[in-house]
Point group: C2
């Protein structure tokens, strides 16, 4: 995707061997690249959400392992780096999936061979993510064509949540890949962007990337989505996923479940877009998914740009208030119309997940 006319990916190796990532904690007010030189930098970058989004943190962990191999390519070094990276965030399955994949490729090799192969595997994973996301766009775009055809105003009105765009992946995105594809094909598209408190990935990241690509969109408070689904226009919901359990239950950014309930109440189709790597047949159902709880400070404070142009962190709650901050929730399979993957439309069910992941 283009940023200021330059084709960008969210992650890659720099000329000096470091890992370069778009620093998502600085958006939408500043486009900045952060550099990681060590596996600790990578772990910190994933924890603090310089990079986030299930597909991207998988690829980022692979890049982090490559940095670790530069430093200590021994079996001990590999095991320690894998442990560090897997512990950064618990909910998205892609992270453990990517770390296991890289480790399985490196383990049989002599330590001296590992640094170069680790970089090659990280690059492969990044490229594979781009291919998968583009294919998710191909799978999902017809849903928008259909929604546009059925809409009174001829426009596919898509409600999304959080950021499952190219910033959540290496390029193209998951939920937004069909949006970009349909928009680029000339289908009239409009996206309802819910701000996604507490970290505002919707109003900060999704609004930014849709704006950069010229896709019409409107930001709303998360709270407004029930009213919107009741009164319209919303042709379909399209969100990402951090983990899809064996029965089709979906863990995604907290607040997704509330939208799914309202979509079901008003018969608006509710689609989840995710690469096959997000499907996790080893987790039987949603209740077995670890839901990350993050620091309450993310609820107490928020960063934005003040009138003088400076970025300020401001406190919203009384000084003595206590906050809890679960980052994800589980949407039961029964509320999911289907899963949009790079291998086509997958039913949100045991059979669907089994068939899609059997290879």
């Amino acid at each position: 995707v283009l940023v200021d006319g330059v084709a960008r990916r969210t992650i890659g190796f720099g000329d000096d061997g470091s890992v370069e990532v778009i620093d998502q904690t600085r958006l939408p007010h500043e486009f900045a690249v952060a550099r990681w030189y060590t596996v600790s930098d990578a772990a910190r970058g994933i924890t603090t959400m310089q990079v986030r989004g299930a597909p991207l943190i998988g690829v980022a962990a692979a890049h982090g392992l490559a940095l670790a191999m530069d430093d200590d390519p021994s079996d001990t070094g590999l095991a320690a780096a894998a442990r560090l990276l897997v512990a950064t965030r618990p909910t998205a399955v892609n992270l453990a999936w990517a770390v296991t994949l890289v480790r399985d490729r490196l383990s049989p090799l002599a330590p001296g061979e590992r640094p170069a192969v680790a970089r090659a595997v990280a690059r492969e994973l990044a490229d594979a993510d781009v291919v998968a996301c583009r294919a998710i766009g191909d799978t999902g775009a017809p849903l928008l064509v259909e929604a546009a055809a059925e809409a009174a105003d001829g426009t596919a009105h898509v409600m999304t949540h959080c950021n499952a765009g190219w910033l959540a992946t290496v390029d193209w995105g998951t939920a937004l890949a069909p949006v970009y594809r349909a928009h680029d094909d000339g289908v009239p598209v409009h996206v309802w962007v819910s701000e996604t408190r507490p970290r505002n990935q919707g109003s900060a990241l999704t609004a930014w990337e849709l704006g950069a690509h010229g896709v019409p969109h409107t930001v709303v408070a998360d709270n407004a989505c029930g009213h919107l689904l009741a009164t319209g226009p919303v042709g379909l919901c399209l969100v990402g996923a951090d983990r899809v359990a064996a029965n089709g239950d979906v863990a995604n950014k907290v607040g997704t479940y509330l939208k799914a309930l309202a979509a079901a109440a008003h018969r608006v189709p509710f689609y989840v877009a995710a690469p096959i790597s997000t499907l996790d047949p080893s987790t039987p159902h949603g209740a077995a998914i670890a839901i990350e709880e993050r620091d309450g400070e993310e609820v107490h404070t928020i960063a934005g740009v003040a009138a003088d142009g400076s970025t300020r962190l401001v406190r919203l709650t009384p000084a003595a208030a206590v906050a809890r901050n679960w980052a994800f929730d589980v949407t039961p399979a029964a509320l999911v119309s289907a899963i949009v993957t790079e291998r086509g439309i997958v039913p949100a069910s045991h059979d669907g997940v089994r068939a899609a992941t059997a290879r």
Copy 2:
């Protein structure tokens, strides 16, 4: 309710004849009293939400009419002031109800008598609100006693939304009146406070007033409430209302509907607390309620306290983003367990509303 040991109401006449209100746009970081000298001040104060909450804006409009009578007690002056005040906010029925009530009392009088009577009626309405809210507390407290008895930890875990506490009324509150009553009676109570974007009445006002009164509470993002209702502990939901239609449909702060859907999905009782003046038999159902749409700036920007102690308005969205901002939504009667009023528990149904409002 006490603030720093001093008994406070949200509104009253000052010694100089002005109307004194607690300025809710300054909370939770600053406790400040604003003064209105004219009906224009009152209208502006209601529109900008120095005062908000369905019961309070009714009482505030009555006070505004009293200021208008000081200035121009003619029939023309009365009609113009009534029109100005009713137009400030469309969704809460209490505003039009209070203005009509005051007008009906003043119309038969000679202009010279109106200023003093208008003040007396405004005071009566304020006192009546306090009595009604205290009675709502009596009606609702047993629900918390029951929830505490049934809870594994012996605590009534109440989920609320927005602010329906004493700040939304003259004193005691609607949804929070049973909370204060149960807490004061020694029932273990804990309140889940959803922040209530975009104006954060939950994290700013409800957390502040519960904290001031010593009621245990936890602030969560609005998005977290589906997860909380699915996994608990939540014994009951208890929210306010801006208008209850003839069939029991409830208009309340945007986001209420999403909580009601999740509560129903997990069989958590969902109660609406409101004075009878909020019941509107003349509006047949929820779809007939005008839903106020406010300025998108409330979504784009937010005020908080920066590290240096200054209050800052910060921008959250990209500079080019567009936002929409509906302030209320409608919860269908079928999702409402009952309405908690000063005249007892009222079923959320045609029969319930008819019986409660027949006098």
